[in-house]
């Protein structure tokens, strides 16, 4: 009888937590939030070469931009972010773009037509977007000199450049990364 009673209690508990489990399952519970360290990764550049690690940019302000050639706003953002990169890279700012195209040819074709100077890596299988908890395209994470996500930019329209630039400049003005951290 005791075991039946235990079973009843267990079932009761299970039924109580069932809605919570359903919510956790359906929502993106693992999204990177503001103030959290940017998840580390290492990826091969889109144009080939030595793998690039996010930690290589520790000490710099990084605009981690997820893009794909089929995404209109991403294409609109790239030349604008390229000019911001050219202007501010001397102050410790970089754009690190992560390409998410399913077909690499399409990404390469686009980048040949619209070249950018900043580094670009490729991710397949949705590993990085899942790690960062992307909800839309494009999404960019502004990472400070200490490797923490400080600003998340969802979508893109031309006028957003002002806001992004303001965020970048305020992070550039912050103190340099200290090695004893």
């Amino acid at each position: 009888m005791n075991s039946i009673f235990d079973l009843k209690i267990r079932m009761h508990r299970f039924l109580k937590i069932l809605p919570v489990l359903a919510i956790i399952w359906s929502s993106n519970a693992f999204a990177v939030g503001i103030g959290q360290p940017a998840p580390a990764f290492e990826r091969v550049p889109l144009m080939g070469g030595e793998p690039i690690e996010l930690k290589d940019y520790l000490g710099q302000v990084v605009y981690l931009d997820f893009w794909a050639s089929w995404c209109g706003p991403c294409r609109q953002a790239m030349p604008l972010m390229n000019s911001m990169y050219q202007e501010l890279s001397g102050q410790g700012f970089t754009v690190l773009a992560v390409n998410l195209d399913a077909y690499v040819d399409e990404a390469l074709r686009f980048i040949k037509q619209h070249p950018v100077q900043y580094p670009m890596v490729r991710d397949t299988g949705g590993v990085l977007p899942e790690l960062y908890g992307l909800t839309g395209m494009p999404t960019a994470y502004l990472i400070d000199r200490n490797g923490k996500v400080r600003y998340i930019h969802h979508g893109f329209k031309r006028s957003d450049v002002v806001r992004i630039r303001h965020a970048v400049e305020s992070l550039l003005a912050e103190s340099q990364y200290k090695t004893d951290h």
Binding site: A68, Y103, M137
Partner: protein
């Protein structure tokens, strides 16, 4: 024993319903997986501008009977 059966039925039913509801969408199409959906040939109208123009002409002609919407019988002006 009757109560235990009730609980078992309850759990089995909830698991069954959850499975059914998740079966409607086996896997959500994520934002980064929409490359194929973004292709021109996947659009209802390949030329959005022409589609808007046609829709406007149709609506202007058929405004008194409601055009593309359900309502009608108005002044017919558009």
């Amino acid at each position: 024993m009757g109560e235990v059966m009730k609980y078992i039925i309850c759990v089995v039913t909830s698991v069954f319903l959850l499975t059914l509801s998740s079966g409607c969408a086996i896997k959500k199409v994520e934002a980064w997986e929409r490359g194929d959906l973004a292709r021109t040939e996947m659009a209802f109208e390949p030329d959005a501008q022409q589609a808007a123009y046609r829709s406007h002409v149709y609506f202007s002609k058929e405004a008194s009977s409601g055009g593309a919407s359900a309502g009608g019988g108005g002044c017919g002006c558009n």
